[in-house]
């Protein structure tokens, strides 16, 4: 199938290019930009006048809920959501049930995803067996099965000796370790950022120190072990500054990301106990959000992800502290990237880089996340001027849980192509 995407404004952050050109796709790859290759006759032409043609989005954290949580979401439903959101590659955290700690599980997941033929998946292996923080998982085997990094998802390793050894072992092979900064004892029993809002609502708090103590520990151990550390879902300005210091003073190779929720929201959005704002890490102060937003803009934070976590209604329709944390996000990654660009008046190449080329770099993806000839033809074509309201009906994801319900956001995906196949159009 040969496809021509005609007259679109091609924004390719990896190559800092932003101009109206045609894109030619053949054999699942980008064949050419601008002029058609000799003898190219498209089977289909997608008219993209007034639309933006960008690399398919790469989401660094999307829980597709398989295996183990099929009542919350299935691979089928979430792949539909990815396509509707223009997301063509997803990194999958290991907190499935059972956790992604066995090569067989990872192979099965990859096989299932491949059969569905939607977004490419990039599983993140469990760093320890069952994410229990006791025994190391078979990292080399897991890598072979398809994992590109190792993580504990939201289950911190309590025993710092185990953590150091896990890092050492990963560093032996040069594997990346992705860690959520959670100091377990300081987090225990807390549900919201320790601050005025939590104090007013009587919600047990999680202090910023729960993040900074963990980051400090991770950084010290990364320095000792030489592991490639990626800190996931930053929530605080303090945490960010620790990472900056580690880079500047000690030359530690550490990357980090932030979620769409923490980029746009703060603890005040909890309002009257809105359980959609029950998240890990907790939404912090407005000053934290502003610091994260500025750091993402200038690249101190490397990437933006959805931290997609579908939760069924029954587990959200509970008192805040008894509700299940997490928010759906695959379909909101693009709109919220665009809203952020609007709010901060950022060029599209910069904003989209955080969900395409920069994310690709962190996930070690070279064949996608950009639109150079020869790249995998994962493409997202969207209307930057159209706006749509986030509603339960509009979301394809089985999870309808998002703090953004009812908000009108910019950007509507018109076409999503995966390896040159048109998988979604609207």
């Amino acid at each position: 199938m040969k496809i021509r995407i005609a007259n679109g404004r091609v924004v390719d952050p990896a190559h800092q290019s932003d101009s109206v050109r045609d894109v030619f796709i053949a054999e699942g790859k980008i064949a050419a930009l601008g002029d058609a290759p000799a003898g190219f006759t498209p089977d289909r032409t997608l008219e993209a006048r007034g639309l933006i043609v960008a690399p398919g989005l790469i989401d660094l954290a999307a829980r597709l809920r398989e295996p183990g949580f099929e009542y919350r979401a299935t691979l089928e439903s979430e792949m539909e959501a990815a396509m509707a959101g223009g997301v063509t590659s997803v990194a999958i955290p290991p907190d499935t049930d059972p956790a992604l700690d066995e090569p067989g599980l990872v192979e099965m997941l990859c096989y299932r995803a491949e059969k569905l033929n939607r977004a490419h998946i990039y599983p993140i292996g469990a760093l320890t067996i069952g994410l229990k923080g006791e025994r190391l998982s078979e990292m080399a085997e897991l890598l072979e099965a398809g994992c590109f990094a190792f993580s504990q998802a939201n289950e911190p390793i309590v025993d710092t000796l185990v953590l150091m050894r896990a890092m050492q072992y990963a560093a032996t092979f040069g594997f990346r370790v992705w860690l959520q900064p959670i100091a377990p004892f300081l987090t225990r029993g807390g549900f919201a950022h320790s601050g005025e809002v939590a104090s007013r609502l009587g919600l047990p708090g999680i202090p910023v120190a729960a993040e900074t103590v963990a980051i400090f520990t991770y950084l010290q151990l990364a320095k000792v072990t030489g592991v490639k550390l990626h800190v996931t879902r930053l929530s605080s300005a303090e945490g960010l500054s620790l990472i900056e210091q580690a880079r500047a003073r000690y030359g530690i190779d550490v990357t980090c990301d932030v979620s769409i929720n923490h980029l746009h929201l703060c603890d005040a959005d909890i309002g009257y106990f809105d359980t959609h704002c029950h998240l890990i890490p907790p939404l912090r102060a407005q000053s934290d959000r502003d610091a994260l937003s500025a750091a993402l803009a200038d690249g101190r934070i490397d990437a933006l992800c959805s931290d997609h976590t579908p939760v069924d209604d029954d587990h959200k329709l509970k008192p805040f502290s008894e509700s299940e944390p997490g928010a759906t996000g695959l379909e909101l990654l693009l709109p919220l990237t665009l809203k952020w660009a609007e709010d901060k008046k950022l060029p599209l190449t910069t904003a989209l880089a955080r969900v395409t080329s920069d994310a690709a770099k962190l996930a070690g993806i070279t064949r996608a996340g950009h639109l150079a000839p020869g790249a995998r033809a994962d493409v997202c074509v969207f209307d930057p001027d159209a706006r749509s309201c986030v509603s339960r009906e509009s979301l394809k994801s089985q999870g309808k849980n998002t703090p953004f319900l009812g908000q009108t956001l910019p950007g509507v995906v018109r076409y999503t192509l995966v390896e040159g196949r048109l998988m979604f159009e609207r």
Partner: protein
């Protein structure tokens, strides 16, 4: 987002918290409570206001005292009262909170009085009723987690007004475990709304929530500084489990530093009143000599509590 305790016309639909409740609403509840105090002195201690209404006391957390005061208030209003200790019934069988509510709605409940261990549970119920279009059912928060205990806060305001009349001339100190206290949060909200110019809390740092000063109070750690020249001393209950959470060393040390004794009370104004939401831990947060002394208004608080709850219930159900 609409304040879940107000209806479309901005009137009180539920009583969930005193935080954000307009001053005139609070004053109106206190005004309404006054005539109800007289009912207890009658031959027949009953008014026909809520005749034929079904009130469910939904206690997901045990509290005989609070449940009893609500029960008496509802019965004096002639309502049919059903007590449900949910902690020992359906939720133990795995039924969700909202399923329990739906079931009771099907039994034609008119009002829920809810006590729950989780902050915000009554708010959830109110939002659920609103979403289901059940605007004729009212929710009264009888204490949720650390969030709010609005009727306690109101009866405290009634008591202060009864003895001190003008809130705008007062120095008030709240003493003790503010961190875990829904009572303290409701008191702080109401006292600020009613214009108390100097509101203090006195507690160790382990028993204060983050950024508490942003709630409009002055923080003291020392009793002799904090009690100086106050008009009203509001004691909080200290629960024994605070010792195990590494929040405090021992009840003895707590009593020594923060327990209210006659000696410490002497630092307050000579006509200062002493309040306590009960049940008291004598010898832990308060000395018996103070609890039984002439400045204590702890038992009047209980009496006023019935009238305040009658006022709240009849104001809600009459809308």
């Amino acid at each position: 987002m609409r304040n879940p305790q107000l209806n479309k016309n901005g009137e009180l639909q539920h009583l969930l918290t005193l935080d954000g409740l307009p001053r005139d609403v609070i004053v109106s509840i206190l005004d309404h409570a006054a005539p109800f105090t007289e009912v207890a002195e009658r031959e027949v201690k009953k008014l026909p206001l809520l005749r034929g209404k079904s009130i469910f006391n939904l206690f997901f957390e045990n509290s005989t005292r609070t449940r009893t005061t609500f029960e008496i208030a509802a019965k004096r209003l002639s309502a049919d009262v059903v007590n449900l200790n949910v902690s020992t019934s359906s939720t133990a069988k795995g039924e969700s909170l909202l399923d329990t509510i739906d079931n009771l709605c099907a039994m034609h409940a008119d009002m829920f009085v809810v006590r729950h261990a989780a902050s915000g549970a009554p708010v959830l119920i109110a939002k659920h009723l609103q979403a289901a279009g059940r605007d004729h059912i009212h929710v009264v928060n009888a204490g949720d987690g650390r969030h709010a205990h609005p009727t306690q806060g109101l009866l405290d305001m009634y008591t202060i007004r009864h003895y001190k009349h003008d809130f705008t001339q007062l120095t008030v100190a709240i003493v003790g475990d503010v961190l875990h206290s829904r009572v303290a949060r409701s008191q702080i909200a109401a006292l600020n709304t009613l214009g108390v110019p100097e509101l203090r809390v006195i507690a160790p740092k382990t028993l204060l929530p983050a950024e508490i000063e942003k709630l409009g109070i002055r923080v003291f750690h020392d009793m002799s500084e904090g009690l100086k020249d106050v008009d009203v001393v509001m004691m909080l209950r200290l629960q024994n489990e605070r010792m195990s959470g590494a929040l405090l060393p021992t009840p003895q040390e707590y009593y020594k530093v923060w327990g209210l004794t006659e000696e410490k009370l002497a630092l307050a104004k000579s006509d200062a009143i002493v309040m306590h939401p009960g049940p008291m831990n004598r010898g832990v947060e308060i000395d018996s000599a103070v609890a039984d002394g002439s400045q204590a208004v702890i038992l009047p608080q209980v009496t006023f509590g019935i009238a305040v709850r009658m006022a709240v219930m009849s104001m809600l159900a009459g809308q």
